[in-house]
Amino acid sequence: MTQPLPKLTAILNSKAPYSSTAGKDALDIALIFGSFEQPTSLFFQGDGVWQLSQGQDGTIISVKDYLKTFAAFEFYDLENIYVCQQSLIQRGLTADFHIEQVQVLAQKEFAEKLAIHHTVLRF
């Protein structure tokens, strides 16, 4: 019996930062999966795309800014970061993100990329 391939996990972010714990809860999972060397991808769709906007500053509204931790993705080998182009367009946003290596995918490619993952957690 061959060793099964490591399972690919996708974390799908759908909420804006700050008002709910969703973004931080998803981030905590991503970092743990990364530190356990589980291949994990991050997807941003709907209002989740706001989490990637350049120029945000949660400290203005007394939030400890968990978005800054996104800079650690590379260190945790979280290198697959996908954002839904249609969600950006709907919100009048451009591909101006506060982290590197975000891949903007058109709807069909976003759907296909998501579908190669074995487990999907959505927050």
């Binding site: 700050y18 008002s19 709910s20 714990t21 949660g58 509204i61 007394s62 939030v63 400890k64």
Partner: protein
């Protein structure tokens, strides 16, 4: 001078609750009379003494405590909503002492005493 009442329905781990606190603090510091704050729905989680927010994050409860003490601000806890969420005024009582255990009748009072009610 007009009087205000405030209802808080959001939990302490949401930034929405920081906004509520900011509003109340700003009103009090500008001299507006606040007849009371009523904690309802997930807002009641504020009163759970065992809530443990990481020390480098915003400590809502310390700020409410300061307002309660400085301005004698009544903080009413809806006990029915609280019991559903694991708070209890019986032993072991886990309700923070700055809160007054209340029922919805208190909300009727606040609506009658206040010129404006703002829900958060």
């Amino acid at each position: 001078m007009k009087k205000l009442a405030v209802v808080v329905t959001t939990p302490p781990y949401s930034n929405l609750s920081v906004t509520a606190l900011d509003y109340v603090e700003t009103a009090l510091k500008s001299g507006v009379e606040l007849v009371g704050v009523f904690f309802y729905q997930d807002g009641v989680i504020h009163a759970n003494q065992q809530v443990d927010i990481a020390s480098d994050e915003f400590q809502c409860i310390k700020h409410w405590q300061a307002l309660q003490q400085t301005f004698k601000l009544p903080l009413h806890l809806c006990i029915t909503a609280a019991e559903k969420r694991g708070l209890s005024d019986e032993q072991p009582n886990n309700i923070h002492s700055i809160f007054t255990v209340s029922g919805l009748g208190e909300l009727v009072e606040l609506v009658n005493k206040a010129d404006r009610l703002v829900q958060f």
